[in-house]
Amino acid sequence: MKKIVLAEDNSMLSMLLKFRLEKEGYTLFIAENGKETVELIEEHNPELILTDIMMPFISGLEVISHVRNKLNKQTPIIVFSASGQEEIVLKAFKLGATDFMSKPFSPNELVNRVKKILR
């Protein structure tokens, strides 16, 4: 089963996405902040990373930088951004993000993108 690390500090959203993605056959590891995210990535070596940008301790941008520059992994990374954070999204792409979804987003659309990336 393909592994996904989901970094999201909104517990309800992470529960919803976990439910949905596990139904599709993926294994989900949930992190509530950037520090936990990095620990989970290093421990489980996931096939996909879903990360929010604004998180406690370490932001999503630092997570991307850590994965690309320190761990030297090419794991696909989808970034969630709030409306009005276009500049931050551009920074995320420069650091190596694969895709982004602007909040509020449709969970169904996210699942489609995940399936497309993990085909």
Binding site: L13, M15, L16, S83, F105, S106, N108
Partner: protein
């Protein structure tokens, strides 16, 4: 016992003032002890409430997630969903639990869109939370009315717009602001119809918020702003000017030109750059001919406009003002002169040794 007798005896023997001071000290000490005990009790109660809140939140989160995924393809309410609705309904009579449920629904509602967001809105209605929000609209306290309107906005309840609209001219800005945002969030440009009826002022901040909401929704038909430009409510006119600029309303030329004679100076001043933005050249001729009758602010705004719409035929007019006593007018006149004819500018730049004039010339030469 001996010591106590000593204290009692010395108390009785001391003067009235000392006795009063001792009584105050004792009363204060007991008050402090009582307050400390009460604060400890309050703190433990608040901690208990916090833990209870976290526990209830987790329960509600799980219930809402189960509700969202318990639906069937026929889009009817399944038995499992109905059971969840009934369970949540039984809890919402308590304000504490009701507030937690609303914040739980909103926590998810802010983050997702599409079918799931609509399901959350339906859940809000089916659990009866909407009835509590509607009852808030009839409350006497303005903050509760505003709160109720905000909840209806966040859950996209369009059906109750008539009940919300009655607060259009509420004495409190917070209520009016909530009502305006409700209409614009849910109905976009059609929601601006309230501008026809509002008699109270719309603050600059409220106008900015409305514009921000409107700009979130792209690809929509812009409302006809002509009637708002003629409104007796001056804040409506100012808001309509902003709309005209953002949405390039070239069709309201006549109404904008009429505003050059409005009794409010701010409107007269604000319409001038808008006329320039929309390239309405006729305004330049009118303002130039009436220049001496304009107020100083209008004159400055006109010269700022001239920077974008000057022509060679304006040179005599510009030359008249290169020594204007007002700094801004002098600056714009010299700048325009330099752009019109650099040789003439070089001839006139040493016209006077007045420090202000020299500073302006130096700045224009280097930029």
């Amino acid at each position: 016992m001996v010591e106590n007798n000593y204290f009692v005896k010395s108390f009785e023997e001391s003067s009235l003032v000392i006795q009063l001071v001792w009584i105050c000290i004792i009363v204060l000490v007991f008050s402090i002890i009582f307050i400390i005990i009460y604060l400890k009790y309050l703190r433990s109660l608040l901690r208990k409430n916090d833990l209870l809140k976290i526990k209830i939140e987790k329960e509600y989160e799980a219930s809402v997630i189960n509700y969202l995924y318990a639906g069937n393809e026929a889009e009817e309410i399944s038995a499992e969903q109905q059971a969840i609705i009934d369970e949540l309904k039984s809890n919402i009579s308590e304000t504490f639990k009701r507030d937690i449920l609303i914040s739980t629904l909103l926590k998810l509602s802010y983050e997702i869109s599409g079918e799931m967001a609509e399901s959350i809105h339906k859940l809000y209605i089916k659990t009866g939370l909407i009835d509590y929000s509607l009852s808030k609209l009839r409350n006497k306290k303005w903050n509760i009315i505003a709160n109720g309107i905000r909840e209806l906005t966040l859950f996209h309840v369009k059906e109750v717009q008539d009940q919300v609209k009655i607060h259009i001219n509420h004495p409190k800005t917070e209520v009016r602001s909530a009502m305006q945002l409700y209409l614009v969030n849910l109905f976009h440009f059609e929601g601006l119809a309230f501008l026809n009826d509002i008699t109270t002022p719309i603050s600059e901040w409220d106008q900015i918020q409305l514009l921000e909401v409107l700009q979130l929704h792209k690809n929509q038909k812009v409302a006809d702003i002509k009637s708002w430009l003629k409104s007796t409510n001056e804040s409506v006119v100012l808001f309509a000017l902003k709309l005209a600029k953002i949405y390039n309303q070239y069709g309201v030329k006549d109404e904008l030109m009429a505003l050059l004679n409005h009794k409010n100076i701010k409107i007269r001043v604000d319409v001038i750059p808008l006329l320039s933005h929309l390239s309405i050249i006729e305004a330049k001729i009118i303002l130039k001919n009436n220049f001496k009758e304009l107020s100083l602010e209008e004159q400055i705004a006109f010269f700022e406009m001239m920077e974008n719409v000057y022509e060679k035929t304006d040179k005599p007019f510009i030359m008249e003002h290169i020594l204007n006593p007002n700094f801004e007018i002098k600056f714009f006149a010299l700048k325009i002169l330099k752009n019109l004819n650099i040789d003439e500018f070089n001839c006139f730049k040493d016209l006077t040794s007045e420090p202000e004039f020299v500073r302006i010339v130096k700045y224009i030469e280097s930029n």
